[in-house]
Amino acid sequence: MGPNLRNTLVVARREFLVKARTRAFRFGTVLLVIGAVLVALAPVVIGWIDRQVITKVAVASAAELAFDPVARTAAVLNAGSEADHPAYDVKAVAPDEARQAVERGDYSAALVIERPATGSDLAFTVVTKDPPGGRVPASVQQAAASIAVADRLDRLGVAPGDQAALFAPATVTVEEPTPPGPGEAAESSVEFYTKMALGQVLVIFLFMAIILYGQWVATSVAEEKASRVMEIVLTAATPFQLLGGKVLGVGGLGLVQFAAALAAVIVTLLLQGPVASFVFGAEASSMDLPAGLTPDVILTFTILFVLGFLLYAVLYAAAGATVSRMEDVNSVVAPMSLVAAIGYIVAVYGATGLIPADASWVTLLSFIPFFSPYMILSRYLTGDAGPLDIVAATLILVVSIVVCLWFAARIYEAGVLAYGQKAGVRQLLKLAFGRR
């Protein structure tokens, strides 16, 4: 083993061990594993939360009606939910108790039905603490409309039996412009939202990992300069070995955290079936849980994580080498964090559809090295980018890393020995690339 590789590994090992022992790292890893498990369990968790939330609605009718307003309200409110897991629990209360019941919090809303005069239309009041445009008041208003129409039909002499046919829901099919091929199933809305949520979470993870680990590299470099240990280390190792070792060491930490999170995710996915049947009871087997984290997604994420980290880490290291005091680290890495944040924001907005993920400028940005880790991942998860796009973006990334490494090594070399004097950008570039 040549001194180059040996020293790089010695530096990397120190970096890794020292940081791995810190409380911040251990605590962070635990949090990350918990987060990863929650993400992996997201479909089950969302399903569970969905079933737990039952909104209670009271119906207080002071009017004579040919039908049961409670049953009709329940039918309208629960039209969208599964038969055995209704989202709304509708009960009848006395008209004079409706307000107190809502006030006490027994019900989210109360629908008060009155008939101002014999033969007139019904008058409705929705009593609720929710804002008028809220989900519950809006749904209750729909129920009121339905009751009003039913009452008018009744007064027009339409028999309740015939009304059932009138109120029967129409058959509506929602379709994509290009219908799925023979082998593919149409994407369910649950699948769509799971993918969207997953895309966002992964992009957030990637962004945080790059910023966080990049900062570690910068801090670690600045720390060596600030503590003046740099000169001792530089006697033994070249700046290039130091730079490489630092990036590798911190990168190794990142990979360890990532591997811990990934292991947690895989175990969780394997246990998802049993967990689901525990949560949902026996019928879970019939439930089709969307598997969000497929191997190709994990592989893509891993590659982009490693490359994205390397790209930013070498630049963060160079930035850290330009300051002499720890306090200055934040200001010097800010521009890079800003660039990272731009890619991240576009990627997240693209994943949610706030920015069209297939717009040409988004497509272009997703191949530009500093943005591509997030953006190509996001576009891949929404299905806007294929495997070939990933390969292209990856190659561009690799080339940029080599260029950045060369650039960063020069800056680093010039920066590590420039003590005290606050080197301006121009002065530093001159030191780095001028005659030495």
Binding site: V18, E224, S227, R228, V229, E231, I232, T235, L417
Partner: protein, 352 residues
């Protein structure tokens, strides 16, 4: 076969740091590298260690260019002191040694041996930030020698040490010399140089002013120093009548007289005897390195140095204007010169 420093030039922007430095250090020597702050000592050392490159000139050791020498040839104690604050002493020393390819087991044993020698074995498991400055310096010295380098380069190794630690470090120096290592160090403490160094180089503003064996450098101005003690008037007023003499230390016990080049120091003895003075002490010596340094550079070597170890640090007398007898302003006030010879001169005193 020696450490050859040949015609080094180095500029930092507009500043000329080195302007043709050339000197040589023989293997096994203890070499003093002297100069005021900013003279170019650190730059020369960094170039020798290949941390930075010279614009011109070269450094070689045993015939090999410094850019091709393996890094473990050198042990370096930089002026900028620093350790990893939150790393344990033993751990970071093993790390430094590993950068030179020293296996961790061997390094650990060495670390304990050195900590033992410095009488601080209990620091192995302590974090560096918990150690005092002087103890951190010991740890740094160990870092410099752990990989058994052939040449030890030390920038101000004694700065900031208390007298006890100065002695410990001095012993460590001698230990390294006995192991056959070549030692190059810079310092402002001239007594240390006179005591330890076989040869010296004095540089100022990037230029070499003197170089050679310590004894030769001390004689280079041609001036001699006479230490004369008499019973009676210690101010020796009669000396004013002898040309080429100047009192540089007027003590109650004895006086120190600088004798210009070409003057016979023994003339003072004759003059004293002719006057019938009862002589308690007469000694002819070379000027101290402090004298030489002041003559060559124009300022005191420790003009900007703050050290706990230097016997004169507490007095902190700044260089002053002309001394008695219209001496040029570069000369030190008389009170300063004596200490360079030590409190008890061991030279033979000729009684009358």
């Amino acid at each position: 076969m020696s450490l050859e420093i040949t015609n080094l030039h180095k500029r930092f922007g507009e500043t000329v740091a080195l302007d043709g430095i050339t000197f040589r250090v023989e293997p096994g020597q203890v070499f003093g590298f002297l100069g005021a702050n900013g003279a170019g000592k650190t730059t020369t050392m960094r170039i020798a260690l290949d941390i930075i490159r010279a614009d011109e000139g070269r450094v070689s050791w045993r015939g090999r260019d410094s850019t091709e020498l393996p890094r473990r040839t050198w042990g370096y104690l930089p002026e900028e002191r620093g350790l990893y604050p939150r790393m344990k002493v033993e751990e970071q020393l093993v790390f430094f040694a590993a950068l030179y390819g020293v296996p961790s087991k061997a390094a650990r044993a060495e670390v304990h041996e050195w900590l033992e020698r410095f009488r601080v074995p209990e620091y192995a498991g302590r974090k560096a930030e918990e150690l005092s400055k002087g103890n951190q310096q010991k740890v740094q010295f160990i870092a410099a020698v752990l990989h058994d380098p052939e040449v030890l380069v030390m920038d101000e190794p004694f700065a900031g040490l208390d007298p006890v630690n100065v002695d410990l470090l001095k012993d460590a120096f001698l230990e390294m010399r006995d192991r056959g290592k070549t030692l190059v160090f810079s310092t402002h403490q001239m007594e240390m140089v006179e005591e330890l160094c076989d040869a010296v180089a004095i540089i100022d503003r990037g230029r070499l002013l003197a170089n050679g064996p310590t004894a030769e450098v001390r004689r280079m101005t041609g001036k001699r120093v006479v230490r004369l003690g008499v019973v009676g008037d210690p101010d020796l007023p009669w000396l004013a009548g002898i040309a080429g003499t100047r009192i540089t230390r007027a003590g109650r016990d004895y006086s120190e007289i600088e004798v210009a080049d070409g003057q016979d120091p023994e003339a003072l003895l004759h003059a004293a005897m002719e006057r019938g003075e009862r002589i308690t002490r007469f000694e002819i010596a070379d000027p101290s390195l402090t004298h030489i340094f002041i003559d060559l550079v124009g300022t005191r070597p420790d003009a900007e140095e703050r050290t706990l170890a230097g016997p004169r640090a507490a007095s902190g007398t700044p260089p002053t204007g002309p001394g008695p007898g219209g001496a040029p302003p570069v000369d030190a006030p008389p009170g300063h010169a004596a200490s360079s010879a030590g409190p008890t001169p061991s030279g033979p005193a000729t009684g009358a």
